[in-house]
């Protein structure tokens, strides 16, 4: 029997600490599991791999699983982190005349297409009485967005952590607003359907391990920042800001969370980002942790 | 196989080589060749017995090289057929060798490699001997690119001579050589031909050369064979100044 658990992680997130602390190996190896860690540059790539069955478990922001589900990827929401609305924001350059979200009318806003910040922008504009079509949107990956933002090609840039903290620190950029009271901005733990059905115990073990590490993070912000620094390639002080902007912990998937995620999916469907309407509940593993 | 078209014909004779060798006869039967609309050779009939040494003369552009290419199987006749040995020529002949009008040396092989290209075992020794024969033993390890025109031609000749032919087709092999070197090459070719007895077809512009070397001289003109005469002189012919030969010479020149 193949008892390999293949976990996909990104450079910034709890999983990298789980890996570093060897917690999961401690929990699962005695039961005959081997753990295989694979790094991905971003959520979509991770789910791409999960879709074809190359990865069993991983973590991404709220947007990628919506697209994956729309594409028919057999994935299951197995856990979620607490909301982190402060971990994403609309940035403008230091000397920008723009003061409020409403000022964005007719301006060029850069963002990563189909990501959590895409939703943030829609909701923020809505809250400010504007509609999505009132702004000029330029789709840019975080890396390109930063370059374009600094070049002055963008009036505003919607971005998440840790890029957010880094950009603020480097350019003195100002936040028009963060996600507070507008969006939840959660991070999801996802597993492939086969893995969830075939090995629920392992899923639970992983989530437990993550939760333990999350608890530890909540106590040791600065140490976490130190640990992230080399892999992310940012100074620890900046990462510390990013880490401080949210709390950590694994929560179960509740109907409220499903509803919130469903709202995002519906907006994306309206924006024609996904071809078909989807039901998040179909892919949720409710009520456990 | 009638001689209806060619103005002069001789009957097929027995091969005259002392060594019954792998020499093959050549029979050309009603053969024509056109390039597009341009007819080059018209309804040619020719029979060359195995081992014979035939010289072909004719004006520039009259189709001599084309004829050799057809015999070698490098080109296809528009009509008629060519039989070498007992096989109709449809593609390349395994034992027919052709010395082209241009030297065609492989630039990436040294001189000795070029000479030995057609030989398998013992090629190096055979090639060295042949180079010695053509007077280029000391150039064996040069690239062909640095040779003079005449030297290149001699390398090509050496290559043809060591290639163990059944039929050897030579397209102006001595054109770039001075009189003395040319004389040496004549003797060399005659000797090797006598030793191996292959059938030889030599294109030349020099009628004396034809008379010096060939059993038979064929003149091509107006797409056909204008003259086909035997040269009945004892070998080896050095100075051919007798009256009969001079008459023959004038007769050939008149037909060209």
């Amino acid at each position: 029997e193949d008892k390999t658990v293949r976990i996909g992680f990104q450079k910034y997130g709890t999983l990298i600490l789980v890996k570093a602390q060897g917690l999961l190996e401690e929990k699962l190896e005695p039961q005959g599991y081997t753990i295989e860690w694979t790094e991905f540059p971003a959520g979509p790539q991770l789910l791409e791999a999960m879709n074809v069955g190359a990865v069993d478990f991983g973590t991404t922001g709220e947007a990628p699983p919506i697209f994956a589900q729309a594409a028919g990827a057999p994935l299951v929401y197995v856990g979620v982190e607490p909301p982190a609305p402060k971990a994403e924001a609309i940035l403008v350059p230091e000397d920008s005349p723009l003061q409020t979200v409403a000022d964005l009318k007719g301006k060029t806003v850069g963002l990563n297409k189909g990501s959590n910040v895409h939703y943030l922008l829609v909701k923020a504009l809505e809250a400010a009485g504007l509609s999505y079509s009132d702004v000029e949107v330029a789709f840019l990956t975080p890396a390109d967005g930063r370059a374009a933002f600094e070049k002055g090609a963008l009036d505003a840039w919607v971005i998440w952590e840790p890029f957010l903290a880094a950009a603020e620190a480097a350019t003195g950029a100002r936040q028009l607003t963060d996600g507070t009271d507008i969006v939840e901005n959660r991070e999801y733990y996802l597993a492939s359907r086969d893995f969830v059905d075939g090995d629920p115990a392992a899923v639970d073990a992983i989530l437990e391990a993550i939760d333990e590490v999350d608890d530890w993070i909540n106590e040791n912000h600065s140490e976490v920042a130190e640990q992230f620094a080399p892999s992310v390639g940012m100074p620890a002080e900046i990462l510390n800001v990013a880490v401080e902007r949210r709390t950590y912990g694994v929560e179960p998937i509740t109907p409220e969370i499903i509803a919130a995620q469903q709202a995002i999916a519906d907006v994306f469907f309206e924006l024609e980002l996904i071809p078909t309407a989807i039901s998040i509940a179909d892919a949720a593993k409710e009520g456990e942790s | 196989m009638s001689a209806a078209i060619s103005p002069v014909r001789t009957d097929i004779r027995e091969p005259q080589s002392k060594h019954p060798s792998k020499a093959q006869s050549i029979v050309i039967d009603g053969m024509s060749k056109s390039f597009g609309d341009r007819r080059v050779l018209s309804d040619i009939d020719l029979a060359i017995p195995a081992g014979q040494f035939v010289a072909i003369v004719g004006r520039s552009g009259c189709g001599k090289s084309t004829l050799l290419r057809l015999i070698a199987g490098l080109d296809q006749a528009t009509a008629g057929k060519i039989i070498v040995g007992d096989r109709t020529v449809e593609s390349l002949q395994p034992s027919t060798r052709l010395l082209f009008q241009d030297a065609r040396l492989l630039p990436w092989q040294r001189v000795i490699g070029n000479v030995g290209i057609a030989r398998h075992d013992g090629w190096r020794k055979a090639a060295a001997v042949a180079l010695e024969d053509v007077g280029l033993a000391d150039r064996a390890n040069d690239w062909p690119a640095v040779l003079s025109g005449g030297q290149r031609q001699r390398v090509a000749l050496a290559r043809a001579l060591v290639s163990d032919p059944g039929v050897l087709l030579l397209d102006e092999p001595f054109g770039a050589l001075d009189a003395l070197t040319r004389g040496e090459m004549h003797r060399l070719l005659e000797r090797i031909w006598q030793e191996h007895g292959f059938t030889t077809v030599l294109i030349t512009h020099d009628v004396s050369e034809a008379l010096r070397l060939a059993d038979r001289v064929i003149v091509l003109r107006d797409q056909g064979v204008a003259l086909d005469v035997q040269v009945e002189l004892p070998r080896s012919r050095r100075d051919i100044g007798d009256a009969a030969t001079m008459t023959l010479r004038s007769r050939i020149l008149a037909e060209v």
């Binding site: 879709n51 697209f67 890396a143 390109d144 370059a147 600094e150 | -």
Partner: protein, 268 residues
């Protein structure tokens, strides 16, 4: 006319033969997809791709994307190809120019486009210029390399001849060196036409909202395999088109060349 008519059947065969392999693969793929051997989620059946094709053709998005990409591609090719050609000619005919530029070109050639995107954005912003710039540098190198190589390997005997017959610099290049280098330059063009599209997919990740690179990468991001496969097929067809165009150009420009005549004779 008569000739054409007579050769009709084998001519048709000859035209179709190159499509045999793609067709066989296509059919095998459809069968595997239908029989469930390939999950359609992972690789949609050709019929599904065709449906996607039909729809995007119908609603005009495919044509819009392709048209926009094509414009970018050719602008970039014109600029980059032009620069590559000029530099190739320069280095090909002048040793000092070679010493000066060739090494740098060989180094730059190796720099991945993906890596320089941040720099490109800083120089050119996120507009069309950035995309065209990327295509330009992508297509400059193959043209450069092949022009250079082509010129260097022109038969030196012919150049000597031309010089001894008093051809001026311009006539020498125009009548001897360029025609002699032409087969190689056209191979360079073939490459450039390929690279042009390849670069575009990278370029169209910069703030694009149109173009077939955008269409494909966007679909990839959202795991819409049918659109990804559709994109791949469009690329392949564009490649085939470029290839046919170059072939036509070759058989015109190289009518004198035995190797290309032969091709003409048997394939056309």
């Amino acid at each position: 006319m008569l000739n054409r008519f007579r050769g009709g059947r084998s001519a048709v065969l000859r035209t179709l033969a190159p499509w045999a392999l793609p067709l066989v693969l296509l059919i095998a793929w459809e069968i595997m997809a239908r029989s469930g051997l390939i999950e359609s989620r992972l690789l949609p059946a050709p019929s599904a791709v065709f449906a996607a094709f039909w729809e995007s053709l119908w609603n005009g998005t495919l044509l819009t994307h392709t048209a926009i990409s094509t414009e970018r591609a050719f602008k970039g090719l014109l600029i980059g190809g032009g620069i590559g050609f000029v530099l190739g000619v320069l280095c090909g005919i002048s040793r000092p120019a070679e010493t000066m530029f060739d090494s740098s070109m060989q180094m730059l050639r190796n720099v991945p486009h993906l890596a320089i995107i941040p720099l490109v954005i800083m120089w050119f912003g996120i507009g069309e210029e950035a995309k065209i710039f990327l295509v330009a540098i992508g297509s400059a190198f193959p043209i450069y390399l092949n022009t250079f190589h082509g010129i260097r390997t022109v038969d030196s005997g012919l150049i000597e001849m031309a010089r001894v017959y008093g051809l001026g610099r311009f006539a020498l290049y125009w009548r001897v060196i360029l025609p002699g280098a032409m087969p190689s330059i056209l191979v360079g063009l073939r490459y450039a036409l390929g690279i042009m599209w390849l670069t575009l997919i990278v370029a169209e990740t910069i703030s694009a909202s149109s173009g077939i690179g955008y269409m494909t990468m966007n679909a990839r991001e959202f795991l819409q395999t049918d659109i990804v496969v559709l994109g791949i097929i469009v690329y392949a067809l564009l490649g085939k088109l470029a290839d046919s165009a170059t072939r036509a150009l070759e058989s015109k420009a190289l009518a004198w060349h035995p190797a290309y005549q032969a091709t003409e004779r048997t394939t056309g």
